[in-house]
Symmetry: C2
């Protein structure tokens, strides 16, 4: 197995946060470039009500395109074995996802009751009792499933979230047979010591769990939190090209950890030399033009540390 | 001793990188606010030739002001026991610094010959043979001295710098009786694993050394590197209010780690709750207005993670 697995969430988490809807053909082009970059998982959409989140209205169409087409990339080469992921919020979304070729279903609940109620109308416990049967149904259908705990490191409404609350939800996921579990810092509150502590406890709970982390750069601690997660033994990392993202329901949240900056961070440490950062930066550049703003990407702005001496 | 010591280098390293010269009375006001913030060391100027770096032309005047005045801060309270530091590049600068009340002399050489020659006209070894007697002279005069190794983690001209080269310079500093040693990532190339490795080796070399780190945000790894340094046991951290800084001699360098963001990072981990971040942000806000640009400070832009639940 690769030492670090990169889960690109930009087409879903990133674009969902934008007011502007990106045309499907542009998304297809971006997803193809992301496939060519060599990231491992691409979350390409969310099965929400199209009228509620128009940016995600073409999710079924995108999955159908990529599962039915022969999946040739722009350069004419067959795409690598990237896993296409979709977010589902309820049974209807799950059915839609089943019908259009989702390979990895992502679903989750918030550890914060306040956030959960604002987001779903249900308490954390109610949400959990609905998510678990959905996850089991997807597994029974032979699908990969990642279940998540949102606001695992704090909540912009409730403030601090106790580790115990997160670990209790994780235990219930494990009891339900789930192994791929994401702890998400939805509000950007995480700090590195907390990350090492909580992921350390999570790994101790189930060393075989495939733990994923999801951090935001709200307060500038995203990459430091990634490093702390790596130190704790986490192997799966979610990130967004261009640092796009942020929940529309979270009061002060801002962008996700930027994928190309995360890849640069890895490659500085001789990890994932196979990933083509230039393909990700290409998407960020075009997204910046279309969204008409500078995206918070160091790699787009300044590029990587040069490999050798400067040519002068 | 405090667990983490904050060395604010903004008035020197930060302002030196700016084209615009800040009036002395504005600097005095900012240094007073920084004193009130509770940071431990403030580097207020550099003893360079006034015509070469006009931004630093008032360095002697600033030291005279703060050493001869009764040092009352804006609020009328006596300043806390902050140490005032100055950078010296040569014997003449040292004499100037001795004459005007410098408490901590900072001086150093680069581990990169190319950088050293561009910056000083001397090789690293020649520069070392001049710095050591200067450092010893300052110590003999009862002054505190911090010696540094610039480009300790890479060089924008030479590329990678071997750990051994840095440790050899450190050994010579130790043999010369120096204990306060800074390893500076002048070009912003450091990554967290390297930071843990090099500082780990440095601490193993002399556990009693007072090791200081100095990181830049050139590639977005500054805070992650600070965390890695903390993990390795480093206690002294240099940072600049507003993330100002960057050597005019380094090809692609950008700002230092931002002091207020670093303080926020510490306070999230229950470290240095005594530091008043608001006083530092006050300086950043005014500097941004005078320099007429947005400074890369998360705390200025978004403020800290709220202490408790949101009031709603």
């Amino acid at each position: 197995m690769k030492e670090i697995i990169i889960h690109e969430v930009g087409p879903r988490d990133g674009l969902q946060a934008e007011k502007q809807t990106i045309p499907t053909e542009v998304k297809v082009k971006w997803i193809e470039a992301l496939m060519e970059s060599g990231v491992d998982i691409i979350q390409i959409g969310s099965f929400v009500h199209p009228e509620k989140v128009p940016q995600m209205a073409d999710t079924d169409k995108l999955f159908t395109h990529f599962s039915q087409s022969t999946c040739f990339s722009q350069s004419g080469k067959k795409v690598p074995s990237v896993v296409l992921a979709g977010l589902v919020l309820n049974e209807k979304g799950l059915d839609r996802g089943m019908a259009c070729g989702v390979e990895l279903f992502c679903m989750g609940i918030s550890a914060s009751d306040t956030y959960s109620k604002k987001n779903t109308g249900m308490s954390s416990e109610e949400a959990l009792s609905r998510i678990i049967p959905m996850a089991q149904k997807a597994v029974a259908a032979g699908k990969k499933v990642q279940v998540s705990v949102q606001n695992a490191f704090g909540c912009s409404y409730e403030g601090p979230i106790q580790d115990e609350k997160v670990l209790t939800i994780m235990k219930k996921y494990l009891e339900a047979g789930m192994r791929r579990i994401s702890l998400a810092d939805t509000s950007g509150h995480a700090h590195p010591q907390q990350v090492e502590r909580l992921f350390g406890a999570a790994i101790a709970l189930e060393p075989q769990a495939e733990l994923t982390c999801h951090f935001h750069e709200t307060y500038g601690l995203g990459i430091a939190n990634c490093y702390a997660a790596m130190k704790a033994g986490v192997k799966y990392f979610e990130a967004s090209f261009g640092g796009l993202g942020g929940s529309p329901f979270s009061a002060r949240s801002s962008g996700n950890v930027c994928t190309e900056d995360f890849v640069h961070f890895l490659q500085r440490m001789d990890l994932r030399p196979d990933v083509r950062m230039d393909k990700i930066v290409e998407v960020t550049k075009e997204a910046g033009q279309i969204l008409n703003r500078d995206l918070p990407s160091f790699m787009n702005r300044i590029g990587p540390v040069p490999a050798g001496p400067a040519s002068q």
